[in-house]
């Protein structure tokens, strides 16, 4: 993990420079653009589009995660246990459903713009998180649950102090999967007029300008990598290794 830091910092710096001063990269991209065409996307700033892109993903995945985790907690309580198989089936079904299809189905209902993308990202984000949260919460060893009860934890204390911390690495992993899928899906969202980096790619495809396609595509890929990596770091912090670091600090 430690060895990854230089690579990580270089990636962050490259993306930041590209987004803020794309003109600096114009000489690299020029061979890809047809003669006389702009090299750097100029109908909106790349930084604004990147912010929109990430904003859409966050606006979809945060509520998605809250809802999925809430649902997973609900169906793993004694009162909600009857719904556990249903939640499992739903999770399995959702995984087989491609995000593009969700997008296509959402447009007729809510029209073009940011909303269909937001809905698609929200819905598709639910399922990996739900699935992982369920795996995490049901995977707590029975002896640990018995000990928590036997020590006199209330059901709520057991959830907050034992079950959620133990499930946390898997839950973060689910959020990570959802977020990465959402970043790529958000790019496709531009086909239905969601603002974001997909706009650059589509403009490039329409104008046959490979420079646009490459800058939009690379930026989206870089965002996915960064988010994937950052959530991996977060997962490390909530895992057992992070627990020891916290104990040592206390």
């Amino acid at each position: 993990m430690r060895a990854a830091w230089p690579v990580r910092l270089v990636l962050w710096a490259l993306v930041a420079i590209f987004v803020l001063w794309p003109g600096l990269f114009a000489p690299l991209l020029r061979p890809l653009a047809p003669p006389g065409m702009p090299v750097v996307y100029d109908r909106a700033s790349l930084s604004g589009l990147t912010a929109w892109h990430l904003g859409l993903v966050a606006a979809a995945i945060v509520p998605s995660a809250l809802m999925a985790i809430g649902l997973a907690i609900l169906v793993t309580r004694p009162a909600g246990a009857d719904f556990l198989p249903l939640a499992r089936a739903l999770g399995g079904f959702g995984q087989t459903f491609p995000p593009v299809a969700v997008l296509a189905l959402a447009v007729p209902v809510v029209g073009f713009g940011a909303w269909p993308t937001l809905i698609a990202l929200f819905l598709y984000g639910l399922l990996p998180i739900l699935e992982n949260a369920l795996a995490g919460l049901t995977g707590v060893p029975p002896s640990v649950m018995l000990a928590a009860d036997g020590m006199g934890m209330t059901p709520r204390q057991r959830l907050v102090r034992v079950e959620l911390p133990l499930a946390a690495p898997l839950i973060v992993e689910g959020v990570r999967i959802s977020a990465v899928i959402a970043i790529s899906t958000a790019a496709i969202g531009s086909t239905v007029a969601a603002p974001g980096l997909g706009e650059v790619i589509i403009a490039g495809l329409n104008a046959n300008n490979m420079a646009f396609v490459v800058q939009g595509g690379l930026l989206t890929a870089a965002l996915a990598l960064i988010v994937h990596d950052a959530l991996g770091l977060a997962g490390g912090l909530v895992g057992p290794r992070g627990a020891r670091a916290r104990t040592a600090a206390a």
């Binding site: 060893p141 036997g150 934890m153 057992p240």
Partner: protein
């Protein structure tokens, strides 16, 4: 004092515990022995209400446990389970602090208490304290589990096959540690085990359970001398009865004072005396192995004595 009064538990029509009444005196160890499925763990879990009895009452010092909210009751009762059930995301020290933290003890007091417990159980607080459960050996994890159960000085300790996951050498050590800690603290213990030898070793009284019923509840010597049912006798193992009986008392009880004329042959006197805690069974085994008919035994008060084989053999048959 713990009183179980006609306690019964049904699971979906199956009677797991059937009309059990037992009284465990303050400061004693009651061992509950039985085969798997005999209802012994269910019986134990009804004491701290992890399982609610279908009928019957359980009193602790005269107060009905049903009258206290279950989490409050459980915080007052120590609980040790078979594969220790340590919280995997907490260090050994944090695990031990579980109940004090639930009871909102001041931080400094928690820290002092954790150190005290770790020292009592021979765990180095600075080395073992920060370790996570998966970094502990089986014996260390077991002791951390016991420390966690004893954290708020409970008067009652429930142990559900606490030594089941340990290998035989560590198990013997853990049993000896428990006996030592129990004597020192005067804690009342209810211990569930499937191992009759363990029950004889640790129990002041033994309850033998089968199919949800207690077949016999008596002191180890009575259980061995007069098994109430064929099942109890089976569990004891007929072949080992005499040795089991001899394992209950120290050999020093039979020692005759050493002196000129009264002592054994000169050669034997050179052999080092057996330690004061040596049981009669161990003394007899020593004689068989070394081919002698006398052994020397040290007494706790520093004096020595001689035990003869004939006396031992006589002591192996209950009156």
């Amino acid at each position: 004092m713990i009183e179980l009064q006609s306690v019964t538990k049904d699971f979906a029509g199956v009677r797991a515990v059937n009309d059990v009444s037992l009284t465990v005196e303050q400061g004693t160890v009651a061992a509950v022995v039985g085969t798997s499925g005999s209802g012994k763990s269910t019986l134990l879990r009804m004491v701290n209400r992890l399982i609610e009895p279908t009928s019957g009452r359980i009193l602790i010092d005269g107060a009905d446990t049903a009258g206290v909210p279950a989490p409050d009751l459980r915080r007052r009762i120590g609980y040790v389970i078979q594969d220790h059930g340590l919280f995997p995301h907490w260090s050994a020290a944090r695990n031990i602090a579980t109940v004090p933290v639930l009871l909102r003890w001041p931080r400094a007091q928690v820290r002092t208490r954790v150190r005290e417990l770790m020292e009592m159980l021979q765990l180095d607080p600075d080395v073992i304290g920060p370790r996570l459960p998966h970094e502990l050996s089986g014996g260390q994890a077991q002791r951390v589990g016991v420390a966690r159960a004893l954290a708020v000085r409970p008067e009652l300790l429930l142990m559900d096959e606490p030594f089941g996951a340990l290998d035989p050498v560590i198990r013997a050590q853990a049993q000896a540690d428990l006996a030592r800690v129990q004597k020192r603290l005067g804690t009342t213990v209810i211990l569930v085990t499937h191992d009759m030898a363990e029950a004889i070793r640790l129990g002041d009284r033994i309850a033998v359970m089968r199919a949800g019923r207690v077949e016999q509840f008596a002191a180890p010597a009575d259980i061995i001398a007069r098994p109430a049912t064929p099942f109890v006798a089976d569990l004891l193992g007929e072949g080992d009865r005499a040795f089991r009986y001899l394992s209950l008392r120290p050999a020093a009880d039979l020692a005759r004072p050493e002196g000129p004329g009264a002592g054994p042959a000169a050669g034997d006197a050179d052999a080092p005396p057996l330690s004061p805690g040596t049981t009669m069974a161990e003394a007899l085994s020593e004689m068989i192995w070394t081919g002698r008919d006398h052994v020397r035994v040290a007494r706790a008060d520093g004096t020595g004595g001689t035990v003869s084989r004939d006396d031992l053999i006589r002591a192996g048959r209950p009156e």
